[in-house]
């Protein structure tokens, strides 16, 4: 029995040393051969951007079999902080680095703007209203309007479903749809992520919330709401008539080099931009001047 135990411990110990060795070699090859498109980088941050970056990473790895791009979400704050202290290569964020980091930290980061994301107000499918003015929308989210019959719908209580205070989608919606009106958080339910929010809107009668366009491609169970008569579509974001959208930021610490640069370049290619639109993201280079800067 003792012998078996000793043997077991020996195997475990050898195992531990071997794995330690193999991770070492892996990371050293990764950092020494970055001049070609070989090596491994990590991108983390915004969960609105993560699905797109993941698709880009899959394609990129097929084109460059020796390169690997690891994508994780974690939130804009995580992306910004980790790229600032160099623990990741690309930090994805819905908001600018200046708004969350100290001036010193933000100064070291370089912003790569590749896509933009629109945000639409969405409602449960039983809501008959299909268009709201910006004023009505603010009144609903600040708790001044509490019944759909006040905006031309049926007599039904409005249930607000929002995202957490720190959410990038919430920040965009607040700035461009509500003109920075302070939402009434003490009457709003909250969902941690957009997927849960969609489920909650779909199952709660009379509810209203907001989702990024990327959640509104393919099949979804909620109804989109026009704002001031303008439908939330990619085209309307391009031509400047739909106001609720924001630039997505992909930050690198200093200039992008090696795999990071190749990857960001790939995301800017025409082939990938078509795919980007199919996934519900706006291509930043196609923005008209009428749309302005967000």
């Amino acid at each position: 029995m003792k012998k078996i135990f000793a043997l077991f411990m020996a195997v475990v110990l050898v195992g531990i040393t071997m794995t330690a060795c193999s991770t070492n070699t892996k990371s050293s090859t990764g950092s020494t051969t970055t001049s070609e498109v070989t090596g491994s980088i990590t991108a983390a941050g915004s969960s609105a951007l993560a699905p797109l970056v993941q698709v880009a990473a899959d394609n990129f790895q097929q084109l460059n079999p020796k390169a690997s791009v690891n994508v994780s979400a974690g939130g804009s704050g995580t992306g910004l902080t980790q790229v600032a202290n160099k623990s990741i290569d690309i930090g994805n964020s819905d908001v600018t680095a200046e708004s969350k980091l100290t001036a010193d930290q933000a100064a070291t980061l370089k912003d790569h703007q590749i896509c933009a994301i629109g945000v639409a107000a969405v409602v449960n499918s039983d809501v008959t209203v299909t268009n709201l003015s910006k004023q009505q929308l603010s009144d609903i989210f600040t708790g001044k309007i509490t019944n759909w019959n006040q905006v031309g719908g049926a007599d039904e209580a409005i249930t607000l479903i929002s995202r957490p205070e720190s959410s990038g989608t919430r920040a965009l919606f607040k700035q461009y749809a509500l003109d920075n009106a302070v939402e009434s958080s003490n009457t709003a339910l909250s969902s941690d992520d957009s997927g849960t929010l969609e489920t909650n809107i779909a199952s709660t009668k009379g509810s209203i919330g907001y989702l990024a366009f990327s959640y509104l491609v393919g099949k979804y169970d909620v109804k989109k709401m026009s704002i001031d008569g303008v439908a939330p579509t990619l085209e309307n974001v391009y031509n400047g008539s739909y106001p609720v959208w924001g630039t997505e930021h992909m930050y690198t610490n200093g200039d992008a080099t090696g795999v990071t640069k190749a990857f960001l370049d790939y995301m800017g290619t025409d082939t990938f931009q078509t795919q980007m639109e199919n996934l519900g993201y706006n291509v930043i280079s196609k923005m008209t001047t009428a749309a302005g800067k967000h």
Partner: protein, 300 residues
């Protein structure tokens, strides 16, 4: 020489491995505690908020940057956590004690063959599944039964948590009851008590300290559970009017905003302070458990 190596192997190898692993665990515990204190005190040291504000104000608007100047009143989350955990306890404890009594005294065969494996399954279900079932079954059901626009509520959180802490309380209670001296039982029957009289008047009172330990262990688990509760309480930033209103709690708030807020900023530090508070509360629970266990020993 060979003898010495033999002796080293036989005696010291195993002992040093065990000691080493034990020390590692102690170090991990200490460093987690140290780290939580370091991060959690930022709100009060770096951003100059008072502990009073944090504990008793309900004005929660921390600034998500390094300038500070927001409001960090966490009272809504603290009350939410307390309320939901105690409600869960209130629901789970009667079921747990009943199951424990059933398994040990009333029908040990059925209990051991059926109930115990079932409870084992309860423990194995991941919390996200409890949360998801709560979200898709319980929440709409509550809305339907009470005729509400939505079912996200303290009640939903309490029921989901009750299911999750039920196995903890039950298994600790079973141990406590099994530890009751068999002599008590024989003496009781010799005095002519019925089985129920024995359970009610002798067995449960002498297992009280063990059962209480289980209850507090369940409470601690309820307090720390984040995912499942977060999915069903609605996370509305307000004190609940009654058990059918939505509210928020500490773990849900930490999970919602930790990733999106900038590390080291006021918002992030305020969340760390909440994590520290959770740790302190669980320390208090452990302390209470120790005191109860000690009292139980003394009685014996």
């Amino acid at each position: 020489m060979i003898c010495l190596i033999e002796k080293l192997k036989k005696e010291y190898l195993g002992r040093s491995i065990v000691t080493l692993l034990g020390i590692v665990i102690i170090l991990v515990t200490l460093s987690i505690t140290g780290f939580l204190f370091y991060k959690g005190l930022g709100t009060f040291v770096t951003y100059n908020h008072s502990v009073w504000e944090f504990l008793f104000s309900s004005d929660w608007k921390p600034a998500d940057n390094f300038d500070g100047g927001g409001k960090v009143g966490a009272a809504i989350f603290i009350v939410g956590s307390l309320l939901i955990s105690f409600l869960a306890l209130l629901i789970a404890t009667p079921f747990s004690i009943a199951s424990a009594v059933f398994m040990t005294e009333i029908s040990p065969i059925l209990g051991k063959k059926l109930l115990q494996p079932a409870i084992g399954i309860f423990v194995g279900i991941p919390s996200v599944v409890y949360g998801w079932v709560g979200l898709t079954v319980l929440v709409p059901a509550i809305a339907h039964v009470f005729n509400l626009p939505y079912g996200f509520s303290v009640l939903a959180g309490g029921i989901v948590l009750a299911l999750m802490i039920f196995p903890t309380i039950t298994s600790v209670s079973v141990d406590a009851i099994e530890n009751v001296d068999n002599g008590y039982k024989e003496a009781s029957y010799a005095l002519g008590t019925t089985r129920w009289q024995y359970i009610y008047k002798v067995m449960l009172p002498s297992a009280t300290s063990g059962i209480l330990t289980g209850v507090i262990l369940g409470l601690a688990r309820a307090f720390g559970e984040a995912l499942a509760v977060a999915m069903v309480i609605g996370k509305m930033q307000t004190f609940p009017d009654n058990i059918l209103s939505a509210t928020n709690n500490m773990t849900a708030e930490i999970a919602s905003d930790m990733g999106n807020s900038a590390q080291g900023g006021e918002f992030n530090d305020a969340l760390w302070s909440m994590a520290l508070l959770l740790l302190i509360i669980s320390f208090i629970f452990i302390l209470i458990m120790r005191i109860i266990a000690k009292k139980g020993e003394e009685v014996k």
